[in-house]
Structure formats: structure tokens, C-alpha cells
Amino acid sequence: MPENVIFYAFAALAIGASALVIGQRNPMYSVLLLIASFGALSGLYIQLDAPFVAVAQIIIYAGAIMVLFLFVVMLLNAPREDAAEYDRSHPLAHPGIGRFGALLATLLIVQLVWALAKVGELKAPVGSRSDAATVGSVVEMGRVLFTRHTFAFEATSVLILVAMVGAVVLARRESEQ
């Protein structure tokens, strides 16, 4: 029973904070609410017996990436965003694009309903599996990453390297002018 209460508390926090991220006019508040949402997510990971993923979530997203976000928001000293004027000449205001967006949203809702309908077919909750302790462990995770998912792992590192080189190239071009 307490597990359920904690789950709903974290889930409500995650959803509420994420919704407020979009609703905020002040970019500083948006960044902070995103951090709160990441914190709630990491609480959910702990409930799923994956402490390593939970801590990695905090270290990488809340501890590193969001500090950079905050740094950029502070450096630009971004003002409060006022409600933008409705601009009919903007390319995104084209009616075709609006319909495409509506289609994607419908697709997302259909997927969500389909996934929720499948929940009943699960044999046992993740936490009560007999191998739950080993699934989340660091050793097991490293083994899976470097054997079954080696290609995805290495491809991701190349992708990050490319992004890094791209950032350096863009930054250099600006300073030379």
C-alpha cells in the first residue's frame, strides 16, 4: 500500500512539473520545474529496483545538463516571455502543418491507450520478480551494454562526439568574424 501512495505521489509530481514547464512564462522557473520532474522520475526508477539508473538520471540530467541550461538562461538573462502575437505569415502557421500536428497528437493518444490496455497482461510487477536485484545492478548493466547493445552504445558515443565537434566548429566560426 505505501508503495502505491509513493508511486502516485512521484507520478503526479513528474506529470504536474512537466506540464508546468510548458506553462511558465519565466524560463528560469521552467528549468527548475524540469529538474523537479527529473527528480520525481528518479524516484520512480528507485521503485522499479533500478538505483543505478535513478542516480545516473540525477547526475547526468539534474546535475550536469540542467546546470548548463541554467547557465545559458542566466547568461542571456532571458526576460519573461510575453504571449506572442499571432503571426499568419509564419511558416509554422500554415494550416497543413497544424493538421499534421493534430494527426501526431492523435497517434500518441492511441499509442498511450494501447499501452495502458496491455498493462493487465503483465505477469508480475517488476519489483516482485525473482531476478529484480540483479537486473538493476551495475555489473549486470555493464555486461548487457558491452555485449548485447555494443553497437548502439558505440554509435551513441560517436553521435555525441560529432555533436561536440559541431559545437566547437560553430563556436570558432563566430569568434573569427
Partner: protein
């Protein structure tokens, strides 16, 4: 509630109590040591030899008026010091400070001295310490003052840069010990080499220890890396606009962070509660036998904290660009080389 839960709660309470008092004691120690180094007395009027000075400081800060600048962000201005001090306390939660004990046969199963024992404890400490930067950054931004903003900006850039070297030097110890649990890392350092040198990781990882110590000073924003509050340049940096209790929480968080840094250094490199001095002394078996390891632990932490204070009053502050180039061009590559060499040796020895 059974006896075990009550004892565990008492241990958590003691941990909390020690941390609160650590900040008060460190204020006194800092002022006394600073006085000694500058050939003057330091505080000496309140109580015998001025030992009650922290109490007087606290009372003074509590009764001051709390001010908030008109242009400040109401919510974040209040939230910032709370975040700072919460992160500082929470980071100590997974730091063990003594060997497992049955309290002279009171409990049937031994209990670990320390608030919580998590199997990814070291990562938890690292995650929560890295959250500490938000308190400083938000304080800087929400004050709506240019000096505070510069302090906050410097804090975020500095802590992001030095976190890398800090984490990389920790990773080398994790590989040597083969575990992420702080208690297991400490217990992997029990015993001696050749009967007289303690099996501490500092002797295997001297470079890692130096990197950890330097990055730790930068992470806690202490001199010579105290750029977020550089008095000569930024008035008082991120806490310029703060007064009363809200102000008091920042130095408190800083001193608790120092204690956490020293405790982690002691646990990872200086053998935690195993052995008092770097070489074997006849005291060691007595410490193990009577469960006094926590005293050896506290002695080592005090030594490390003294080193912290000593450095503050000896080394002048760096320049900001020197700090950045030192962190990125020297410390980080060095820690990566240290990590790769350690990994190669561990792989060779295990093969």
C-alpha cells in the same frame, strides 16, 4: 518498533547532530587557526579562549532583520538558501563513519554507523553534491544584482568544470575496490602491506588523491578557488543581498560540504576507520577490538579539514581564466590518464 530500528534512528540523529555542530566548530577552528597564522589571538572574549564565539555568531544572525531587495524574485530568493543547506545535509546521508558494531552485544546483528547504506552510495553522494550548485546559482540570479549574478555564473561554470576531474578520480578508486558501496570500499582497505604500511588507496592512487583534493576545494568554493564570493571583485558574490538566517545558511552549507568532502576523502583514500596513521602502530588492533574506528575516522577528517583551512590562509586566489585553463587543460587530462593507467593495471592483474 523493534530495538534495531530505534538504534538506527539514533545513529541518524547523531549523524545530523554532528553535522550541525561541525559547521559551528569549523567557524571557530577557522577563526582560531587564521589568527594563529596571522600572529594574533582570533576570537577570545566569549567564553574561555573564545570557544563560545560560534554561539554568539548564531544568536547575532538569528536576531538580525531579514531583508529582501525590491527587485528580487520572491520565491527563488527564499528557496536558494534552503536548497543549499538541504543538499549539503542530504549528501552526508550515505557516508558511513564507523565500522559495523553490535553495541557491545546489544543487537543480535551488527549495525553500520552511518545514516544509510546504499549499494550505489558513492554515486548518491556525487549526485547530491552536484545538486548543491543550484542553491548558489539561484541565489545569484534571484537577488537581481549584478555582483550576485556574476557570483552565480562563476559558481555554475566552476562546479561543472571541476566535477569532471572529481568524478574521474573517484572512478579510479571504484575500479580498484570493485564496488560502489562506500562501506565496502572502506573495508577493502583493511590490513597492511609488509606488516607496516596501511593498505590505503592513497598509496596506490597518489595522483588521484591530489586531483580529488584540488577538485574538492573547487567544488566547495573555498580559497584559493572562492570565485563565487571573491570579496575584492564582487562585494560578497552570490550572497551579497542576503542577511540574517538566510545568509547564515550559505556558510553553514559550505562548512557541511567541506565536512562531506573530507569524509569521502577519508573513506576512499585514507582507509576510513581502518588504522590511525599511515603506518602500523600498536594502537591499530586496540581500535579494531574496542570498536573505536569512528574515533580514528574523526581524527583523519579533522586533519583533512585543518589542511583545508591551512590552504585558505596560505595560497592567494587564482585568476578566473587561470582557474578554467587549469581545470580543463591540466587537471582533467591528468585525471583521465590516471583513470586509463589504473584501468590497464587492474585489467592486467585480474587477467
Amino acid at each position: 518498533m523493534d530495538l534495531r530500528t530505534i538504534v538506527q534512528l539514533i545513529v541518524i540523529g547523531i549523524t545530523f547532530f554532528m553535522l550541525i555542530n561541525a559547521s559551528a566548530l569549523l567557524v571557530l577552528a577557522e577563526r582560531k587557526i587564521m589568527g594563529f597564522m596571522q600572529q594574533r589571538y582570533g576570537p577570545y572574549l566569549v567564553g574561555p579562549h573564545g570557544v563560545l564565539q560560534p554561539l554568539a555568531d548564531i544568536v547575532k544572525l538569528l536576531f538580525k532583520e531579514e531583508l529582501r531587495p525590491k527587485g528580487a524574485d520572491k520565491w527563488l530568493f527564499t528557496l536558494a538558501p534552503i536548497l543549499s543547506v538541504t543538499a549539503a545535509f542530504a549528501a552526508f546521508a550515505t557516508v558511513p563513519w564507523g565500522a559495523e558494531t553490535t553495541l557491545f552485544g546489544l543487537l543480535d546483528k551488527p549495525i553500520g554507523l552511518g545514516a544509510a547504506d546504499v549499494n550505489v552510495g558513492l554515486l548518491v553522494i556525487f549526485a547530491i553534491t552536484s545538486m548543491g550548485v543550484y542553491g548558489i546559482v539561484l541565489a545569484g540570479w534571484s537577488s537581481n544584482s549584478k555582483y550576485s549574478l556574476f557570483g552565480g555564473l562563476r559558481a555554475s561554470a566552476q562546479m561543472i568544470s571541476y566535477e569532471l576531474s572529481y568524478a574521474t578520480s573517484l572512478a579510479a578508486v571504484i575500479m580498484l575496490a570493485g564496488t560502489l558501496s562506500v562501506r565496502e570500499i572502506v573495508d577493502s582497505q583493511a590490513g597492511t602491506w609488509f606488516g607496516f604500511i596501511q593498505q590505503w588507496w592513497i598509496f596506490v592512487q597518489p595522483v588521484g588523491f591530489v586531483i580529488y583534493a584540488i577538485a574538492g576545494v573547487a567544488e566547495t568554493n573555498r580559497a584559493p578557488f572562492d570565485f563565487p564570493e571573491a570579496e575584492q571583485e564582487l562585494v560578497a558574490g552570490y550572497n551579497t543581498e542576503y542577511s540574517s538566517v538566510r545568509f547564515a545558511l550559505f556558510p553553514q552549507a559550505e562548512y557541511i560540504n567541506m565536512a562531506t568532502m573530507s569524509a569521502v576523502a577519508t573513506n576512499l583514500y585514507l582507509g576510513g576507520w581502518h588504522g590511525l596513521l599511515p603506518f602500523y602502530t600498536p594502537l591499530d588492533p586496540l581500535i579494531e577490538e574496542y570498536g573505536l574506528g569512528w574515533m580514528a575516522f574523526l581524527a583523519k577528517i579533522s586533519g583533512f579539514l585543518f589542511f583545508y583551512i591551512w590552504m585558505r590562509w596560505t595560497v592567494p586566489r587564482y585568476r578566473y581564466d587561470q582557474l578554467m585553463s587549469f581545470g580543463w587543460k591540466f587537471l582533467f587530462p591528468l585525471s583521465v590518464v590516471n583513470l586509463i593507467v589504473t584501468a590497464a593495471i587492474v585489467l592486467y592483474l585480474n587477467a
